[in-house]
């Protein structure tokens, strides 16, 4: 990953009538970086991506892709980008090969067809099948191939593994990793935490049109609370543990075991446990999914 800025958005706003989809998005992606863009349905993920390609026009803020304003130089921006829409629609009467040939023609026939075949093989995509006879997952594979086939400098993927089986999901993540290894920057939206955790260098969490958190996945996990499960030789006074700053009792069992949530350092808890007859102590970090859900817990939104 280099310091070269591939994409930057500052104060990006967009409304659809009275609905404010984006309320001031700030984002940056550098060359060779994979940014996972997390958020529930309707948070503004797709709107952000569509602004980057000049499919929709933001109401305010500044946007630069490869140093260019997509509104003024959309063709140049798109020539260096590969896009997979969240709701992929392709002419159903064509075969996969015909569709990809059409997309290649729109790119000025500069695609290496051997690479298209290689991608199709890796994704087990049959190019001879007519699209209307394909499953959702196979259509999604066409979308992935068309986004990658010209080896773009920037990949904009809106829920890339949607509808794919676990094996193919893993293959797509490998393809994203390969693109990154070749120097491409990847901006992908998802609400599947495991895949973001697996490939993203950084994650940005969007809520109601605002990026509420942006960090490396590990840093986000380390910064967050952890859980501690403690078993005692005999019943102890659990209440004393609940009084330790940053410690919260989640569940208890006859005073002989307890599940705790610890925010910040473990020092105070360990000091308190040293005076108790502890026979077992297990700690675990929360998953990215739990952190993500915590951002939406108070809103009661469906994720």
């Amino acid at each position: 990953m280099s310091d070269e800025l591939v994409l930057s958005a500052q104060g990006l706003t967009k409304s659809y009538g009275r609905v404010q989809a984006l309320r001031g998005i700030d984002l940056e992606i550098r060359r060779g970086e994979v940014l996972g863009y997390l958020g529930p349905n309707g948070a503004g993920k797709t709107t952000t991506i569509r602004c980057l390609l000049d499919l929709i026009r933001p109401d305010g803020g500044t946007l630069r892709v490869f140093g260019m304003n997509p509104q003024e130089r959309s063709v140049e921006v798109r020539a260096r980008s590969g896009y997979l829409p969240g709701e992929l629609q392709i002419d159903p009467n064509r075969t996969a090969r015909e569709a990809l040939r059409y997309f290649n023609a729109l790119r000025g026939n500069n695609v290496d067809w051997a690479y298209v075949n290689e991608l199709s093989e890796r994704l087990q995509l049959d190019l001879k099948t007519t699209i209307k006879n394909m499953s959702h997952g196979n259509k999604q594979k066409i979308g992935i191939v068309q986004a990658l086939m010209h080896k773009p400098d920037l990949l904009l993927l809106d829920e890339p593994t949607l509808g794919l089986d676990p094996l193919m999901q893993r293959e797509v993540l490998r393809l994203i990793g390969d693109a990154k290894a070749e120097g491409a920057s990847v901006f992908f939206s998802s609400h599947i935490m495991s895949e973001v955790e697996a490939v993203a260098d950084r994650v940005a969490i969007i809520r109601k049109g605002v990026v509420v958190e942006e960090a490396e996945p590990t840093s986000l996990i380390n910064r967050a609370f952890r859980r501690a499960s403690v078993r005692f030789k005999q019943a102890v006074d659990i209440e004393q543990l609940d009084k330790i700053p940053g410690v919260h009792v989640l569940s208890r069992n006859d005073g002989t075991s307890v599940l705790l949530q610890v925010e910040g350092e473990m020092e105070n808890l360990l000091k308190a446990l040293a005076a108790l007859p502890v026979i077992d102590l297990e700690t675990e970090r929360p998953s990215l999914e739990e952190i993500f859900l915590a951002y939406y817990e108070d809103e009661g939104q469906e994720v």
């Binding site: 390609l53 829409p85 709701e87 023609a105």
Partner: protein, 286 residues
């Protein structure tokens, strides 16, 4: 732009073949009928003389029905704008918006194709498809004339088709503009279709009702030549219709360049029409 043009024209194949062959077969039928009808001109003229004025206002002058030009003028060209106008309205209203509504435009415009190039490519494909359909219709009249008593010079036979092409252009352009202004392709097609039918009736009725003459002046079909085209095209009318079409095309282009590409209805709007479903209100309030 060339790629867009090529692929769009390829997509219009069905329309070109369907409309073109259909009109050609109609021409073949009419030319075949002319020999029979031509031998009974006197009886036919007597029959047609009792037709009301309102009828001739819409379907042309029957006085030279027995001549090849008069026959083709009445039986083919008089109502052809309303027939081929449907093609113009459907293609014009869906030229860009049908892809937007089915979600494919989102992906196409993520490619290095400017909106202007996409627009121009599709517009050119529409023009070429229209010319091809009219060309096939011309062939349908011209070829059977070689074994029929109907004789019209082939270049003269092309003249009403030129007038017809201008009408296709204006109704296509109006429908395209409607599709940029209205929230859906269906509404744009409906508005374009209404305008087409209204234009047909206003133009026809203005011939028998002087008070409609002023309104008829803004009706595109007022400047259409059916039988009259055989005596020479009105260049001013053709230029005027094409000029107005160009204005609509430019306006639609300006709107297309500025607007958001919609997916899933975002940014759209709806007319608040009263519900026709019985009990809809009860259900909503429940």
């Amino acid at each position: 732009m060339i790629t867009v043009f090529r692929y769009t024209l390829r997509r219009y194949r069905g329309q070109i073949i369907g409309w073109g062959i259909g009109l050609a077969l109609l021409g073949l039928l009419l030319v075949s009928m002319f020999d029979t009808i031509g031998s009974q001109t006197d009886a036919l003229n007597e029959y047609l003389s009792v037709f009301p004025e309102e009828f001739t206002a819409f379907f042309g002058d029957f006085t030279d029905f027995g001549t090849p030009e008069g026959f083709v003028g009445v039986e083919f060209f008089s109502y052809m704008p309303i027939i081929i106008g449907i093609f113009a309205v459907m293609i014009g209203s869906g030229m860009l918006v049908s892809d937007e509504e089915n979600g494919t435009l989102d992906l196409i415009l993520s490619y290095p194709v400017s909106r202007t190039a996409l627009y121009t490519g599709r517009m050119l494909a529409f023009i070429v498809a229209s010319v091809m359909i009219l060309g096939l219709a011309w062939v349908g009249l011209a070829v059977p004339m070689s074994w029929s008593s109907m004789t019209i010079d082939l270049d003269v036979l092309a003249l009403p088709f030129v007038s017809l092409l201008a009408q296709i252009m204006i109704f296509g352009a109006i429908s395209l503009l409607f599709s940029m202004l209205l929230p859906s392709r269906g509404m744009a097609a409906m508005a374009g279709g209404l305008l087409l039918v209204a234009s047909f009736f206003i133009t026809g009725l203005a011939k028998i009702n002087d008070t409609l003459e002023t309104v008829a002046k803004i009706s595109p079909l007022n400047y259409y030549q059916a039988r009259e085209a055989f005596d020479g095209l009105n260049g001013t009318w053709i230029a005027g219709i094409l000029g107005v079409s160009l204005v609509f095309v430019i306006l639609a282009w300006m709107l297309f360049r500025q607007r958001d590409i919609r997916v899933g209805g975002e940014g759209g709007w709806r007319l608040s029409l009263p519900s026709l479903r019985r009990g809809a209100k009860i259900k909503e309030s429940a």
